[in-house]
């Protein structure tokens, strides 16, 4: 028995069989709870800025997703665990109705963290029954089942996105506390490392193809696959390090407008930025707040939690530039995705091009616009990506906190140019 798996709402071909989907569902759901485990009820309820959501909300919203888009559709007369949750835990789906305003997610002290745990268990149980039922009847004989499996798969990838957000967000929450408490104590001493010199690999450019195609899962914004003409270019072998960033700072990087986009310079002045987010003066040097608490800045580690403005200014300072997303993808297409989860990015160790995945998202010079031929799906799931396609920059690769099987060569992450709370770093490129 097979299940068709698709970019949202556009079934095209087979991806996972139902048993694999069920295992994936169980694994993802369990992992979310594992990530929340170190956090107290107090940690899980606070919202530190409008972009941040409470841990509790992430746990509930990803559960609501299955109630809203799977169980309500698949089961006649499905009784929601609590009708109020539809309002509380809808994120931004206008087609689904009114919702708690995003900046006020931190006002919801009840339902409690325990209530949310229970909510997750009840929905998991309902999903279990649904999986049993699907297993009893062949999928390929039922368009509905096919669509449901598609939406379940989407739900698991959606929840993985929120796993990364959960970690980004709780880092921001804990950083607001003047005590700077750690999410987890450091498990081991970070090893001293010496990343190799910055080198560039050339590519001839020409007419290439980018974007997702094929039976594997992808988000709708990754396709359609299409042709792009590239001029010859070169891509750096590794991410920019904190040591290199300290040189930029020492050379007046945050004080000299000539490196900056106009909006970037205004932002620097408005907020008094003089270092990446989470960096603090520590004696003569700098410390950086991580999910393992505050640590001395490691010159060998990739810089992270910088905005597009900073990434672009840094590139100007070096005389290089940021890559276009199609350049990045063209190079990355021949590399394996082998991420290893960690709470903070690590120094490069490999020769050749490295750190494409699993350390820090990489800002590109590409604005987040639809690929040629892109059409959002009808209905609520069509709101998933398309409606954010303005005033955002594309990031490629993945971060150390990205779930292990959530990275793809064609993955398009996106954030506003001023945003710094994502695990975003810098890879340089140049014309040839």
């Amino acid at each position: 028995m097979t299940v068709s798996s698709v970019g949202v709402g556009t079934p095209n071909s087979l991806s996972l069989d139902i048993d694999s989907l069920r295992r994936r569902f169980d694994a993802v759901r369990t992992q979310t709870e594992r990530l929340a485990d170190p956090l107290s009820p107090e940690d899980q309820v606070v919202q530190s800025m409008p972009d941040v959501s409470p841990t509790k909300w992430h746990r509930a919203h990803t559960t609501w997703f299955f109630e809203e888009f799977v169980l309500s559709l698949a089961i006649d007369g499905y009784q929601r665990v609590d009708p109020a949750y539809q309002y509380l835990f809808n994120s931004y789906y206008e087609a689904v109705g009114a919702r708690q305003p995003r900046p006020r997610r931190g006002m919801i002290t009840r339902p409690s963290v325990d209530d949310i745990g229970n909510y997750r268990r009840l929905v998991n149980a309902a999903m279990d029954e649904l999986f049993d039922e699907i297993a009893r009847r062949p999928m390929d004989s039922s368009p509905l089942h096919s669509s449901i499996a598609t939406l379940i798969e989407l739900g698991t990838h959606h929840e993985q996105q929120h796993q990364e957000l959960l970690l980004m967000d709780i880092k921001h929450v804990l950083f607001q506390n003047p005590l700077h408490p750690a999410y987890q104590p450091p498990s081991e001493q970070p090893q001293a490392a010496e990343p190799g010199a910055l080198t560039f690999t050339s590519h001839d450019g020409g007419l290439v193809e980018v974007g997702h195609e094929g039976p594997e899962f992808s988000f709708d914004n990754e396709g359609p696959r299409h042709k792009v003409w590239l001029e010859p270019f070169a891509l750096a072998n590794r991410l920019v390090t904190c040591g290199e960033w300290l040189e930029f700072m020492a050379d007046g990087g945050y004080e000299r407008p000539e490196f900056w986009l106009s909006d970037g310079w205004a932002t620097v002045q408005q907020h008094g930025w003089d270092a990446p987010l989470y960096w603090d003066h520590a004696g003569d040097g700098w410390s950086v707040f991580t999910l393992n608490g505050s640590q001395p800045v490691d010159p060998a580690a990739p810089v992270v939690n910088v905005s597009y403005y900073e990434a672009d200014a840094y590139a100007h300072w070096t005389g290089y530039r940021l890559p276009r997303e199609e350049e990045w993808e063209t190079v990355a297409a021949s590399h394996r995705v082998e991420p290893t989860f960690a709470l903070h990015p690590r120094p490069a160790t490999a020769d050749g091009i490295s750190q494409l995945f699993g350390e820090a998202w990489q800002w590109t010079s590409s604005a987040y616009t639809p690929y040629p031929g892109f059409r959002a799906a009808d209905g609520a799931v069509g709101e998933y990506n398309g409606k954010f396609m303005v005033d955002q920059q594309v990031l490629r690769g993945s971060a150390s906190i990205t779930p292990d099987d959530h990275a793809r060569v064609t993955y398009r992450n996106f954030f506003p140019a001023s945003s710094r709370w994502a695990f975003a770093g810098v890879r340089l490129a140049s014309d040839v």
Copy 2:
């Protein structure tokens, strides 16, 4: 053995003996915990606006007060429970050092609610030892002991203020939640009541004396006692009811600028006020959110949670006016303070002047300015009241949520004219 008790920092005469003080200390400290008992860790950490503090913070700050102003002074080499708490739980005492900014008290997820419970127990234990030591040595032989007892007494009154704030604040927090959860379920059906007609009692005025004098405790802002000339006036027998307020609303009270102070009218328009805080449309009528959850508006109950702007506009609409604080005190001086704690104010039942205490604070037309001869104490405790004496209006009496032995005829409460989250209502007055 006796202890001198004083307005802050100005010992004048004896008030409580040490045993009474100790009993008072124990009772107040226990009562704070009792008030927090119905609240979950999640409830206790959230801050719903800058004026509001988390429950957890109230519990910690009132404890810090004894560490900062009593234990550190009385005990050589006193070791604070946690040095970081000095920063986290200082409210506004500039003289004591830097502190967590008020609007960011809700960012402190750690120390946890349990940690704060422990903090309270440890400080209570240290206070117990201090009481023992004081009991062993006569107070009157030691100016230091006298001063310490004075500060302990101040600390208990300070904590009682925070008990009322705790309830005001958690009501505001819970109201943000679209589910409108109750702090406590209603214990009994509110009884139908029919308050008597609004009548006025005249007073001849003349040269009167107001303000605190004598051995009983008072805050520094209640004195010195001083002469004031009053013209003849009359004071209403009871508070304005919700039923009367509904008439004001029906007559366009929130739509007609002629009743309003200029700043008040601007505020009405800016925030779209059309009823008291916590009132919601419910079918054809109105419901009101209380600490017992949402209830139909009771026309017989006093209106509460109105701003000075609204109180003043209401008075204009009636053709009466608000009382001056000295008028209020002159009438109240001949009445007993017999408050009975309740989570929401109740209808008037008595004949004659009633509801002076124990239902809702009463806005006066008096700005909060120092009494003639007032001087703030030196040092940090001198910041207690004096530095707030601008752009605030005085409220008199007490509210249903004011601790039972915390009301006084000379008590001067104060809030900005736009503030609505206090349990503040309206008593009318008039010239004669």
Copy 3:
């Protein structure tokens, strides 16, 4: 023939005869134009902050006042010069209808400055005719004429208030220009002066009377005259000088929170105040921007353009306090008002109490509240003063830019505690 003159809307007794009123009208109207003469069309149209009105607007609004409250009432079928002006030039009279929002007065480039000049001439001509008609018929036989004369007199005092505002406002406008252009070039060298030592005159206090009473004109907020009990006090002989203010600054006046009201300290930090408004660093010293351009700070001259917060902090620093408005009036009642107009306040030269009038308004510790028995008049003119009686502090005396016959012992000026663009200074007081 006589005309009854009154506090707004409350005719009580005779003040000016009709010829005197006409002379007063002509003189005031001419003086406004004289004040605008040095200003270009560009100068007259710009609004530098919401509190400030363009010169052109002042000239038009004071003219509209006579159209709205006199000509429309007195003349059947009076045709307004331009119906649109009723909307454009109403200030804040809700009863009269909608109006151009205050912060957007500077958006009105048309009608032009020339158009406004013409508007003034046409209304003056209509007023001329009205005066002729009134002269032909005895006033005392006509309640309407009596009321009209009253409103004309009010209009002249209203226009004098705007003459002072015009100068305050254009000073603020010109100060925004980085070239700091002068309203008028300095006419002569300011003479070196050496004010005498600061001394205090005691007063026994007791039961005194304050407030306006009698046939002379006053604003409604100056009455009713009423009894007040005062404790013994002392009042400083002169205003605080810039030299004394420099000592305050040198002693960390703007850096030490212990001197400041809580709101004041927050304001200092928010705006980075480190000196009075209009003071600029000039080499090692300070310059001050005046209507005569930038000048070195004169240590002998009174400090001016300070907020209530600063005045209060200064008083705390000295150990004295600010006077209550009744204290000020009680002392001033025995002094003559002999102001001499000037564009900037001058050093004290007299022995004894001086500078009560004609240099800088003096902040008092009194909040702006209604006097006992005060009732605002019905209708639009009742909005003149009453609706501002909250969150303002009273200032007494008058300033160097106050029109010469516009000062009174009972005059109550008022501004918010944070306001600095008025010509406001400091006179100290103390308990005895």
Copy 4:
């Protein structure tokens, strides 16, 4: 004698001879003054929002450009007309030094409008002398002269950009005035017109070239010319009309989130948009404010003064989309630029593709990013375009108020997605 003309700072080949350049300079400088002629001094000084500059400022800034980038470079010891103007009239060139903050350009009442007229005359005279000197010495023998001629040409195009801004800005200023005065009275009755049906012309796509190349002037952001792959597409024959826009409105266009980008929908709700900027309810219909005053909305005329958000929502509503800038250019490349200046856009009359130029700028779906190989010039002129390349959308074509010889097929205009005060309209496109 010839002069090399270039994208800023990158001389590449010959464009204008020196006589032609001189004629162009004279014509442009004269035209600016002609545009300012209908405006009073009051009109010319006011700034209605931070994006808007006063007319006076445009006149001065375009003059400062020649002082800063031409006369100071070309003439040894050149004496600026007024050293203060360097601060007052620098727009955004960080490399040139500090400047009057943009939102405060409307605070500068002096220098007067007359002073600015004089400034323009003096700089024109200095330029005259410079032209004489250049004419005396062959350009091609002097790299400096070549560079100077280049900068002069840039200055004329820069001034033409400000001519359009001047009209956009004064329209916004006059619209703030509740009287809605006209910049110029309508010269003739707009003729009734009936634009033809909306049709689409297909294009095969493929590997095309876009961007400027060759000796003619262009801005730096128009190059380098480069290859782009296009999928097959179709472009609408004309702009969207007001009549079509009214249908969108009637169908709930401004009330249904499903058509909108997420940021767009938030903007609609925040500002209460329910029609294009400058549209007002007029009885049952709509009026539109134009530089000729308020007029009934003409259903045949192109809609204008809409944001990117609105353009994109409209396209979603129709089921079409906005064009990519390369699609637009590929089609436009075969059309002649024949603009005819007008104060408001006119209905389409031609068959075939029309209104590419001379009516309304056309929002594209392309974000404003650098072309492959783009490098900003060194120094201040390098700030001209490059530093704005984030969070802006590209507009193509030109508007009715664009100077007649200022439109080009390769011209890239850009504004933020929320901006509405440009003369921006909508041309639809679609996939094939």
